[in-house]
Amino acid sequence: MGLIVQSVGFGLVTASVLAVAAVGLTLQFGVTNYINFAYGTYLLLGAYFTWTLSTKAHLNFVVAALLACLLMGVVAVVIARVVMQHFVSRQAPLFYLLIVTFGLSLILSNVIEAIWGPAFQTYNLAVGNPLILGPFSLTPNQIIIMGIAVAAMLGIHLMLTRTVLGKAMRAMSDNKDLAQVSGINTDQITTVTWFVTGCLAGLAGVALTVTTVSFGPASGSNFLFVIFAAVILGGIGKPYGAMLGAVILGIITEVSAVLVSAAYKDDIAFVALIVVLLLRPQGLIASRGRA
């Protein structure tokens, strides 16, 4: 029993990472209306930027991670403006965009391998002694990650509800054409969305690789569809749904790692994804609209 309670603690850590990633993916989907299959490599790219800045440029880890997140936001904007914008502005069929992002993921993961090599990397971070928090025993890094994730979610919540930018994003997510005729500069909002979600991807990538300790060029690929599962669980395009989906999936996968086997964690996430798709494809938080 103690082991299961402890795994719930790890589940909350996984959920934190997952929530940051899933909110980024779903926010971008809501505004642009297509799924980005290269998102997993965005996470990984953020992790590699952090690694280079902290171990090669000898920056403080927090500074390096922050810079890497901003850099990832810029990369996401550049890719969106240079590649995706061409297809979006010509109103290309949806499958073009899906294939193009699928292709981008292949290109980016090979760019990563070409630059940083196939070997596994680790950050110069002290793991620290586990702290006992109630029933859970977590390392300081894990607690910091949870804190950062909560702060990020709070920030996203405030942005979506209190700022003009966030309201414009929600309006575009509801109905792009209506948003445009209401005077919202949809082009600009799309660019800002790519920047914000790129930063979130970078942040999630750093958090993920801090929890897994070592990472290689293939690390993002399996996590990508756990993110998808969280996004679909919460209802695609819905940030709060994604947060809920992340918490549920994070706990389910970590508890199942104790009950079944850690090797089949992804399969459990997959089963959850399939059950949701078959029973409740609109996601847990249902509303009128897409799907």
Partner: protein, 335 residues
């Protein structure tokens, strides 16, 4: 000459196999619009099942374990591999093909492929995990007394025969009422449904037929190489087939041939013989993958219909003049 000819024959084998694979994806995506992002899983399914039908039983003592091990002749194994892939196509299709957006289809196929990849790699009793199947002696070679070069030439013929059969299957579907229904669903699912087409069943058929061809191609690879492991079916391999289809031109099988030649033979296979750069042995493969990804995006950018575009079919010429006799094709259109 002794070196060049077998090398060319090897390329021809890959060219023929990739033709079959690209037609398979063409049936799924080019005809019916099913976004199958895990096509290579069906190829792997065909290869694995052909392998365990043709190989002898694996023995746990030697560290080789796999299911079945029936020691059957290769043609039986080929059919078994193709059928197994077809069944897998229906199973994955049942999850992926529903009345939702095409994003879901792409996500579900990709996720299923990833899970199956993890399962096959980790669960050794199935297909020997990461080590994979190995030790299949070249089919027919012993009976005919062939050396390894002669076997390669034989395999060109075998692949050619299977390819011709697959060509007839793919063309037959394309020009049949079923193929027309598939294209109608691809263009507008709601409209096709309004006309009483069972869009889920038709797309499941496309999924199964495409997977069948994929399985046949996989079985041919298994027979040629004699081994198959998870390293041979990473998601990047799916992309090679996708790039071949998009670059060559989807919706018609000639375009698929051109695409499989350009992408699968010129870019993917021929560059394997470039000597690795000594300072960075992974540089050539990573550049090759980048090139494949870039070629696909570039084609969608400048010529989205591909090198050989699908011909626009005219079914009824409008406006119809009064008193025009009913067009004979109209009778056949009821798929």
């Amino acid at each position: 000459m002794d070196l060049i000819l077998p090398y060319l024959a090897t390329l021809v084998v890959f060219f023929f196999v990739y033709n079959i694979l690209t037609w398979g994806l063409n049936i799924q995506f080019g005809y019916a619009g099913v976004l199958d992002f895990t096509f290579i899983t069906f190829v792997a399914c065909g290869a694995y099942f052909a392998g365990v039908f043709a190989l002898g039983p694996g023995s746990q003592q030697n560290g080789f374990e796999w299911i079945l091990g029936l020691n059957l002749p290769f043609p039986v194994a080929l059919v078994a591999g193709a059928l197994a892939a077809g069944v897998l196509g229906i199973l994955i299709g049942l999850i992926a093909i529903n009345r939702l957006r095409s994003d879901y289809m792409a996500i579900v196929t990709l996720a299923t492929g990833t899970v199956l990849y993890g399962l096959v790699s980790n669960f050794t009793p199935l297909f020997d995990g990461f080590d994979g199947l190995a030790g299949l002696s070249p089919p027919f070679a012993q009976a005919l007394g062939l050396n390894s070069n002669q076997f390669t030439y034989l395999w060109v013929v075998v692949c050619g025969v299977v390819m011709v059969i697959c060509w007839f299957i793919a063309q037959r579907i394309l020009n049949s009422p079923l193929g027309r229904t598939m294209r109608a669903i691809r263009e507008d699912q709601d409209a096709a449904e309004t006309f009483g087409k069972d869009t889920v069943r038709v797309r499941l058929t496309a999924m199964a037929m495409g997977a069948l061809l994929a399985g046949a191609g996989g079985a041919l690879l298994m027979g040629f190489i004699g081994a198959f492991s998870p390293a041979g079916w990473t998601s990047g391999e799916t992309f090679v087939v996708w790039a071949a289809l998009i670059v060559g031109g989807r919706g018609n099988n000639w375009g698929a041939i051109v695409g499989s030649f350009v992408v699968a033979v010129l870019i993917n296979e021929a560059t394997r013989y470039i000597p690795p750069v000594s300072v960075d042995p992974t540089l050539v493969p990573t550049l090759r993958n980048m090139l494949i990804g870039a070629s696909l995006i570039l084609v969608l950018w400048v010529r989205p219909q591909g090198i050989i575009p699908e011909t626009r079919r005219r079914f009824l010429q409008l406006p119809l003049r009064p008193g025009t006799p009913p067009i004979r094709g109209a009778e056949r259109a009821r798929g």
